[in-house]
């Protein structure tokens, strides 16, 4: 008999500790805005005691839900574009050493440019509205997707490709039956990183040239001097990001379990691809 506590108890203990951490943070927030700061002080306007009812009011009159759904739509559109572009590019870079050589430095360079640096260009080229926001989200999300896909190809068992070749698989058939299913775990990790980056980028991206979304809601609250509402939106952004990452993490973990493949650490998606798998070589 093992004296290890049952799984539910371990889980409950962890949830308990996480909740304690959040409660302490909330307490600190309250201390700073309501105890330390003098009443009537600017700091006091950011109190959690006013933010909480502001969230409720925001969602009761429907505006909050509109902002949330508009932001999520733009986020999904950006991630979808990043996936459509990033997966083929990442697979190609993973498969071709030459292509990896050509693109390595370029990708590192582009990856290090904050997506927000493209904002003026995006607005000049795409006008104001949803398009530049979606574009900036896609620019932010595409790199983790590319690197995740390439790392996935890199981690493929070369034996799989050789066996498929001797079974008569064409290049395209090796791609659809071995490469694409084989990189799913790494891709899920890349997408999780992409989602996090995109969520961080979308809020400032929505502060320019749009009249809806959570980023806009922050500026709007500031302009109306509704600091309670502003803090409420910040809380909503954090909560939604937390929930989105939770979903992504579950998906990615399920991929790993189902596939019984080596776990792809979040870092794996950020690794520089050193030795790409050469599909042609196995012919």
């Amino acid at each position: 008999m093992s004296d290890r506590p049952p799984a539910w108890r371990v889980r409950a203990a962890r949830v308990g500790r996480a909740s304690t951490g959040l409660l302490v943070a909330l307490l600190l927030w309250w201390l700073v805005t309501d105890v330390v700061a003098a009443p009537g002080d600017m700091l006091a306007r950011f109190s959690p005691l006013t933010a909480a009812p502001a969230i409720v009011a925001l969602f009761l009159d429907g505006a909050g839900l509109v902002h949330v759904s508009v932001t999520l739509e733009r986020l999904l559109a950006g991630i979808a574009i990043a996936t459509l572009v990033g997966v083929p590019v990442g697979v190609a870079v993973g498969l071709s050493r030459r292509l990896a050589d050509y693109t390595g430095a370029l990708f590192q360079f582009l990856r290090m440019v904050s997506p927000l640096a493209w904002t003026p260009i995006a607005i000049v080229l795409l006008g104001v509205g949803d398009l530049p926001v979606v574009f900036l989200v896609a620019v932010a999300a595409v790199w983790p997707v590319i690197l995740g896909a390439a790392a996935g190809v890199h981690a493929l068992d070369p034996g799989w490709l050789q066996i498929a070749t001797t079974l008569g698989a064409s290049r395209r058939e090796r791609l659809t039956t071995i490469v694409l299913p084989g990189i799913r775990a790494h891709l899920a990790t890349g997408l999780r990183v992409a989602l996090g980056t995109a969520w961080i980028v979308i809020v400032p991206a929505e502060m320019l040239g749009v009249d809806s979304g959570l980023g806009y809601a922050i500026l709007d609250a500031r302009d109306r001097l509704r600091y309670d509402e502003l803090m409420g939106v910040v809380l909503v952004i954090g909560l939604l990001g937390f929930a989105l990452d939770g979903v992504a993490q579950r998906t990615s973990a399920r991929q790993r379990r189902r596939r019984h493949t080596r776990p792809a650490a979040p870092d794996a998606a950020i690794e520089v691809i050193e030795a790409p798998v050469d599909l042609a070589r196995t012919r």
Partner: protein, 271 residues
């Protein structure tokens, strides 16, 4: 028996490396008869795995001639099984075995053959299992089944049992011989284990170390039934095997080997 499945003459494979050109093997002649288990025995680095990859179409000769059955698209009509099973971890056993059916090249193979093959090979109970749930021996059986589903009756095995424990290995060796009889296969088996070569092989070809062709080919079909002959052949092979690794690499392949006395089987088709 008698008709040839594979004929290799003056074969060489040379790799270009940073230090110049390194031969994996050269001056190699080999004949594999239809329906036999032909064991390629040799020390590490004698090029036996490279040779098998060439027979499978995964690599090519630098010189020499290779005749073997081919598909209409020029691919060698041979299936290969490597030391590790290399099963796709996201597919069940049945789906792994059926992998070849997803390729256009095998559109003539009937889907019903998967179940039939699983049954014949004693894998039916494992059909829905995932590779992670299999033992090493089971995984290797699945790998052989996957190859046999689409492969014509020429099977190339690259030390397929080397990673298994001795009991499982013996089990799988006997299983392979039963399957060979059942499906009338021609098998080329690469191994560095003299006993495995004798036990499985109808004929054993000993490759020279340092990539200088073959020492000779021994007919071992009858040896299992005669312990005296077995011991002598085993002794002979072991001695020559040991010698292959010691020969300096500048030595050119020697003349054909003579008959050995004392009931030992003389190498046949030696060069």
């Amino acid at each position: 028996m008698g008709t040839l499945a594979i004929r290799l003459t003056g074969a060489a494979r040379v790799f270009s490396t940073g230090n110049g050109r390194v031969p994996a093997f050269s001056g190699l002649d080999l004949e594999v008869r239809r329906g036999e288990v032909h064991a390629l025995l040799g020390p590490s680095g004698c090029g036996k795995s490279t040779l098998l990859r060439i027979l499978a179409g995964l690599d090519h000769l630098s010189a020499g001639e290779l005749t073997l059955p081919r598909h209409s698209d020029g691919r060698p009509a041979a299936g290969i099984v490597l030391q590790d099973a290399h099963l796709l971890p996201w597919l069940t056993v049945a789906d792994n075995v059926a992998l070849g059916l997803r390729y256009r090249a095998n559109r003539a193979v009937a889907a019903g053959r998967v179940d039939e093959l699983l049954e014949v090979l004693g894998l039916a109970e494992l059909a829905d299992a995932l590779p992670a749930e299999l033992s090493g021996g089971q995984a290797q059986r699945v790998a052989i089944a996957r190859t046999m589903l689409v492969a014509p009756p020429l099977l190339l095995l690259d030390e397929p049992f080397a990673a298994l424990d001795p009991l499982t290995r013996r089990d799988l060796q006997d299983w392979l011989l039963r399957v060979r009889d059942l499906l009338d296969l021609t098998i080329v088996l690469v191994t560095h284990d003299v006993d495995e070569a004798i036990h499985l092989g109808d004929r054993v070809t000993l490759l020279r170390g340092g990539s200088r062709g073959t020492v000779g080919t021994w007919d071992t079909r009858e040896v299992d039934r005669n312990s005296e002959v077995l011991a002598a052949t085993r002794h002979d092979l072991l001695a020559r095997y040991a010698a292959t690794s010691d020969e300096p690499s500048t030595v050119v392949p020697g003349p054909p080997l003579g008959t050995n006395g004392g009931g030992r089987l003389a190498p046949v088709a030696a060069r």
